[in-house]
Amino acid sequence: MDRLKVATVWLGGCSGCHMSFLDLDEFLIELAGKIDIVYSPIVDRKEYPEGVDLCLIEGAVCNEDNLEILRKIRARTKVLISFGDCAVTGNVPAIRNQLGADNATQVLQCAYIDNAQEHKCLPGREGIVPALLKRVRPVHEMVVVEHYLPGCPPPADRIRAVLTQVLEGLSPKLEGAQLKFG
């Protein structure tokens, strides 16, 4: 069998899910023998490649960049896994949705003007700083997702359980406390 082409991506999250991935310890060595990581915050590749078998998506969909890459990922990947609570539920990044229609403006104002000690100004540069979406969304509200790996962050043994099943050619399935949010 060809080595599985795996990607991991970091949208609107804290990178904790990726830290948990690194926490797989010696299983990472086993993984390295069976998969190729073709795109990830931990490998140096600028463009998301074609023909990816599996992508772990950390983070909610918060800004235009997130949405653009997510659509590209969906088009170029066989199996998507929502990786962690932000991807699965919107979690902490989505709390701003509770502020209503102009929540994006309100949070920027709060962070960069009201509470800034110096250089009070909104970040923004065409083509560099992406605009926030009106509403933060979990990944499956924007594209079709095959599997879910909840947890904030998902503990390493949970990630391992899913990857082991994938490597065995199974459709990964978590049960009971392995599905706990938070």
Binding site: C152, Q178, K180
Partner: protein, 242 residues
């Protein structure tokens, strides 16, 4: 002496069981170690069938019935677990998560929450409905207890313990549908309530992170329901002579 208790025999999940005629399907199932998920049921206060988690199938009835409010009868045949029931339970749970703001990662009840535990127990790996993200506030006016409407599932356990165990009648409900909420007295800040005895029973009864002790962390928020059980037992078994 009264005559012998009227005993009914029924079948739950293919098992013959006997019950007193005043028992509910839920009572009998629990006595026989058959698990039926519940959220609004609380030992010691009257059942109201609000959460619909305990739905079961009863032979001869096309409708699903709530086990906590359905009395047993002779020859009844109950199914507590089926594809159909699992489908509805999961839908109900997902709707509860979509309706208010449940952010387990930063919730005081994380790890001690009946809603969270049921969700993973029923295999809920994500919510298929769009989240509503409503704007709900908190009431932090009481000196040592808080109410977070974002986490409330409107099970009214707090209302029932406040009325029927404490007898204070402080907690109430107002509004309709998605706009329903738990209020204090006639919708005033909890801290201003003259009826609240600050007994903390509502807090002990709450299945989620909606009612909490101020200043306690998620690790400390384990609910102590033993006090509620103690009071109810003592009352029902007449251990207190008046």
């Amino acid at each position: 002496m009264s005559t012998a208790v009227d005993v009914k025999t029924l079948i739950i999940d293919g098992m013959d069981v006997s019950a007193r005629q005043d028992q509910t399907v839920l009572d009998v199932a629990r006595e026989n170690n058959i698990f039926i998920p519940t959220l609004c049921h609380l030992e010691g206060v009257a059942d109201i069938g609000a959460c619909r988690l305990c739905l079961v199938e009863v032979k001869g009835t096309p409708k699903l019935l709530s086990a906590c409010t359905t009395k047993v009868y002779e020859g009844m045949e109950v199914t507590t677990d089926s594809e159909r029931l699992r489908k509805y339970r999961r839908m109900t749970l997902e709707l509860l998560f979509a309706e208010r703001n449940h952010v387990c990662a930063v919730c005081v009840a994380n790890g001690h929450c009946e809603l969270q535990t049921l969700a993973y127990g029923q295999g809920m790996d994500h919510v298929r409905y769009d989240y509503c993200f409503p704007k709900w506030g908190m009431d932090l006016t009481h000196p040592f207890m808080g109410m977070d409407h974002n986490r409330c599932i409107l099970c009214t356990r707090c209302v029932r313990v406040c009325w029927y165990i404490e007898g204070a009648g402080t907690k109430n409900t107002s509004g309709r549908g998605g706009g329903s909420m738990i209020i204090t007295d006639l919708n005033q800040p909890w801290g201003d309530s003259e009826t609240c005895t600050s007994c903390g029973k509502c807090l002990m009864s709450c299945p989620t992170g909606a009612l909490f002790k101020k200043g306690s962390t998620a690790g400390e928020s384990d609910r102590d329901r033993s006090m509620l059980e103690f009071i109810v037992n003592a009352r029902e078994k007449k251990q207190w002579t008046v």
